[in-house]
Amino acid sequence: MQTPFFFLNNDSKLLDAIRSSDEEALVELFRQNRRPITSLVTRNQGSEDDAEDVLQEAMVVLWDRVRSGSFEYQAKLSTFIYATAKNIWFRRLARHRRELPATEEALDVAAEDASPLEELEENERIIAVQKAMEQLGNPCRDLLLLFYWEDRSMEEIAVKLGFANADTVKSKKYQCKKSLEHLVRSMLGGSDG
């Protein structure tokens, strides 16, 4: 079914905003989708807080997909968000039923991408890296995020973080990565090589 122009236009603006790292787009999408997601979650044993959390995670998945270029615009954004939130919530319910520890379902949903990176199962080292990132100071933290998460080029990062040029960024990135690995090793008790 063809998407009505109004929605296309509105969605298109929001997608453009996400592509240009405008987080306000997520807030707007949150507002627009709050009611149906709250209805979905509360009808399925969840609370309003659960609904809010699930919707936020769905927003993160959307952001991730759009920023990585893996988002395919086939239906209205609200349809994607609803399906993603539903998926997250039912996974969470299933986990609870199996009495498994709660994890970041959004990451699991994001991991449905077919890329080698995101096919990864959660493991101790990934969590250690995440925690090490919390300890890593700036500009390393921003630099690594821009490069590995936002997929920015060295040139873009140089401009954004005020480095002289792409080569400087490259050199700095190498140092930052080493610092991160060092932190991860200390967290894992030096067992990681």
């Binding site: 987080e23 306000e24 997520l26 807030v27 949150f30 809010e52 936020q56 995670e57 927003m59 993160v60 952001w63 991730d64 970041e104 959004a106 990451l107 994001a110 890329s115 080698p116 990176l117 995101e118 990864l120 493991n123 080292r125 990934i126 969590i127 250690a128 890296v129 995440q130 090490a132 990132m133 919390e134 690594l144 995020l145 590995y148 998460w149 936002e150 997929d151 990565k177 991160l180 690995e181 991860v184 990681d192």
Partner: protein
């Protein structure tokens, strides 16, 4: 095939990153994948790099969610404040309305000479008379005019026209029964043309002595009568200056 196995691109992280981040062209991507199938050491290196990048991305997602949550909470806070302000404003308005209504009806019960509205129809009494409409305006004013016997006379001007209006008080009991409107308590007012000019008859259950009175023209078709500190504005269809 043998050459590809010997490439060992994976020895340098510079080679692994483009593979993991989908920055290799299809041919090189395939070569890399094939090489991994044969090189266990390479697979281990790739896995370590994968985990590192996955951890960084996970941190990015968690941070984004945290920022998003902060913005939403802050917006909800603002929304909550506005809602509160609106609620308080609504409560104040309701409170004032309630006080007004209570005063209104209390006064009404207490002093039946005040009535919200007086509605009469044209020429119900005679051809030369006119029942008019009036409305109490709750605003104290200085009284004017004199009270003698049961009639007060006023000469009022509106433009070039001059009109003498006298106000006559009559007890409510004297009001012809036909002028009661149902069970509603009213201040009946009757305006008629007499040889002495317009005469406005107020039917009231208050003692005449308590009725300090004034009268003034507001426009060609309206006038205000002051009774006991209250104003009653009258609209006179056809005008107060004559032609009744």
């Amino acid at each position: 095939m043998g050459d590809r196995q010997l490439i060992h691109w994976t020895k340098s992280v510079e080679n692994i990153e483009p593979y993991l981040m989908h920055r290799l062209d299809d041919v090189k991507d395939q070569e890399f994948t094939e090489h991994l199938q044969m090189c266990e050491e390479c697979r281990l290196r790739v896995q370590q790099e994968q985990e590192l990048i996955a951890g960084i991305r996970r941190f990015g997602r968690v941070e984004l969610k945290r920022r998003l949550n902060q913005r939403i909470q802050s917006e909800q806070g603002r929304h909550f404040e506005w809602t509160q302000v609106a609620s308080i404003a609504a409560a104040i308005v309701l409170m004032f309305a309630a006080v007004f209504m209570i005063r209104w009806f209390t006064d009404f019960e207490h002093d039946r000479t005040r009535n919200r509205e007086i509605v009469f129809k044209d020429n119900e009494v005679s051809q030369r008379s006119l029942w008019i409409t009036g409305k109490v305006i709750l605003q104290p004013r200085t009284f004017r005019g004199t009270l003698s016997d049961r009639t007060s006379s006023f000469v009022i001007k509106q433009g070039d026209a001059t009109q003498t209006i006298s106000i006559k008080y009559a007890q409510l009991a004297e009001l012809p029964p036909t002028k009661r409107i149902g069970d509603e308590l009213i201040i009946p007012t009757f305006l008629e043309q007499t040889s002495k000019g317009l005469q406005l008859t107020l039917y009231t259950n208050a003692p005449e002595q308590s009725l300090a009175t004034g009268i003034e023209a507001v426009s060609a078709e309206s006038l205000i009568v002051y009774i006991k500190g209250q104003q009653i504005a009258y609209n006179i269809p056809g005008g107060w200056a004559g032609k009744m």
